[in-house]
């Protein structure tokens, strides 16, 4: 079951450049939240702070607090955080040297799953959740790079789900995919949010309206507006949000 995330006073920097300015936001459990805004507004940085990926870039730092239910993520070991808060990236990035099966099994093996039958079972379950099983069940031993782009991205989702996270972060997961693959990913997100808390960064406002319960609009590192998706798109409270969703800039 998903868990809620509460963020308080979150600021982030790359070197001297501040990319997030004191963000406060509450993300409810088992909802899909879309994070929108023009390029460079800090939306990617925001989600990368939620699984402590931001700090892995040399020279990057952050301030503030991120809590998962009652637990302070920045008091946990970052490796543990990333097992609870999974992530899917802008471009499909399956491990290029591993087979379809091993892409998913690697993290499981490293976390101590040894039995063959259990591995096979969990790989299959993850692939089914990512709606990929039927397409790849006969190609499990082939290199992951032989799959199509859309399949690769769903494999990455399956890979993230296999370690059983509470939260799934998606950083423009469909931006590199064709329309049909995009639709399949969106379907998948709607399907998954009953079990996970999902945060999806997107450039595509239609996509936000299609998949997200709530939407947050970022501009210049600030959270400008946050509310139900329909409210943000149809009755934006802030002038800048309105300008953006009406396509006047961005």
């Amino acid at each position: 079951m998903g868990k809620s995330i509460s963020v308080a006073g979150l600021s982030a920097w790359y070197g001297d450049q501040q990319t997030l300015q004191s963000i406060d936001i509450e993300l409810k459990a088992n909802t899909a939240t879309a994070v929108i805004g023009p390029s460079g507004c800090g939306k990617s940085t925001f989600v990368r702070c939620l699984n402590r990926m931001h700090e892995t870039v040399p020279g990057a730092r952050m301030e503030g607090r991120v809590r998962l239910e009652e637990e302070d993520l920045y008091r946990m070991h970052p490796v543990d955080v990333r097992r609870i808060v999974g992530m899917v990236f802008q471009k499909p990035n399956p491990f290029p040297t591993l087979s379809v099966f091993d892409n998913i099994a690697l993290a499981l093996r490293l976390s101590g799953v040894r039995r063959r039958s259990e591995l096979a079972e969990r790989v299959e379950r993850s692939l089914r959740m990512a709606a990929l099983w039927d397409e790849v069940k006969d190609r499990l031993r082939q290199p992951a790079t032989e799959l199509s782009g859309g399949q690769q991205q769903r494999l990455c989702i399956a890979r993230a789900l296999a370690v059983e996270p509470e939260v799934l972060l998606m950083d423009e997961p469909a931006s590199a995919l064709d329309p049909i693959s995009t639709l399949r990913i969106e379907e998948l997100i709607r399907d998954l949010k009953s079990r996970y808390t999902i945060v999806i960064v997107t450039h595509n406002m239609q996509q936000a309206t299609r998949v997200a319960d709530r939407t947050a609009f970022f501009l210049n590192g600030e959270l400008i507006e946050f509310g139900d998706t329909s409210q943000v798109f149809e009755h934006p409270r802030d002038r800048r949000t309105e300008d953006y969703v009406c396509g006047r800039f961005g």
Binding site: N51, M53, T56, P58, G59, V79, D80, V81, R82, R83, G86, M87, F89, K91, N93, P94, F95, P96, T97, L98, S99, F101, D102, A105, L106, A107, R109, L110, S111, R141, Q142, P143, C156, R159, A160, V163
Partner: protein
């Protein structure tokens, strides 16, 4: 008008000149690109030609016999199946073959893990001035002349190995074959391996660092995002991606370790006519023997000693090429099985 025409002609002649320059450049490039092959072939031809009489004289015993004896250079020259050599001459290079392989193997066992970890730190963990400084230090280390390593080895490392490290290992792991027994004087296999490890670590480190920096960040983040530790990401994501280059870097270090002359000559203990009994025994490498004995060989009136050293050089060359090829073959085999069966964790 005429001025304009002259101008046009000038431009045309310039163009023609640049076309010629291009042809010239291509010619030079072709010659240069053929250079490595030509040089390798030429060296091999000269060395093998120089080795022929010794090959005829010793046959396979050259690599199976342990007796290395230039013979009585002040005695009579005997004729052996049409080949002239000093009485009692026997060129059995097995001791040097084993010494070369064993010392370079020890060097690799130590240097490869250290290099890979150092390279990972340089590529992923530090940045800015610190990264530049550390990289500079690594390159500086690679540039230290081998005689300096040898001198340090003989003055500092060998006494320490002889009095502390050797006896320590022999005491703790004496039950392991080859690790027990007399710890010797410090001049020998272990010290040679350590000095060689020190010499090839910067070379492998620099190569592996460059490889790791080429791994797209996206793939590393895929691993990090799954909750893999830095080590797990390195081991299971980055290293498999650069596998081929990694083997190349290791082969480079191995070749350097096998061909290294001065430092091993100083700390190896220069064993003759005996195979190493344990990790601490004195050894000789092929390169060191060539350097040590060439001067005496030149006084051999039958010239057989020079031919034998040439055969030693040919053997070293072949060994270097073969290890390189084997390493590459290994990559392709492993590459194929990785696709088929996946890596074991």
């Amino acid at each position: 008008m005429s001025q304009r025409k002259r101008g046009e002609m000038h431009v045309m002649s310039q163009r023609r000149a640049s076309r010629w320059a291009d042809i010239g450049f291509r010619g030079v490039a072709a010659v240069c690109s053929a250079m490595p092959l030509v040089v390798l072939a030429a060296i091999l031809a000269v060395v093998v030609a120089g080795a022929m009489p010794s090959i005829r004289y010793m046959g396979w015993r050259f690599i199976t016999d342990i007796t290395w004896n230039l013979g009585n250079l002040y005695g009579a020259i005997s004729v052996h199946g049409g080949v002239r050599a000093p009485a009692g001459a026997s060129y059995g290079a097995l001791v040097f073959l084993v010494g070369t392989l064993a010392s370079s193997a020890i060097a690799l066992v130590i240097a490869v893990p250290v290099s890979v970890l150092t390279a990972a730190v340089l590529a992923y963990q530090v940045r800015g001035p610190l990264q530049s400084l550390l990289s500079f230090l690594v390159e500086l280390l690679a540039g230290i002349p081998s005689v300096v390593f040898g001198l340090w080895g003989i003055l500092v490392l060998a006494p320490w190995v002889g009095s502390q490290l050797g006896p320590g290992i022999a005491h703790l792991f004496g039950w392991v074959p080859f690790l027990g027994g007399s710890a010797g004087t410090g001049l020998g296999l272990l010290t040679s391996g350590l000095v060689l490890a020190l010499m090839i670590t910067p070379i492998i480190t620099a190569a592996v660092r460059d490889l790791l920096m080429q791994v797209p960040r996206l793939y590393r983040e895929g691993g990090i995002g799954l909750g893999l530790t830095s080590w797990e990401v390195l081991r299971h994501v980055c290293l498999p991606i650069v596998r081929e280059g990694l083997i190349g870097a290791v082969a480079l270090g191995w070749g350097r370790a096998m061909g290294e002359t001065m430092a091993v000559l100083m700390v190896g203990g220069s064993a003759l006519n005996q195979l190493p009994q344990n990790l601490y025994s004195p050894i000789s490498t092929m390169a060191a023997v060539i350097a040590n004995q060439l001067d005496s060989a030149l006084t051999d009136a039958s010239h057989m000693a020079v031919h034998a050293l040439a055969e030693l050089a040919a053997l070293l060359l072949v060994l270097t090429v073969v290890t390189n090829l084997v390493a590459r073959l290994l990559v392709h085999r492993v590459g194929w099985t990785a696709g088929a069966r996946g890596v074991r964790v």
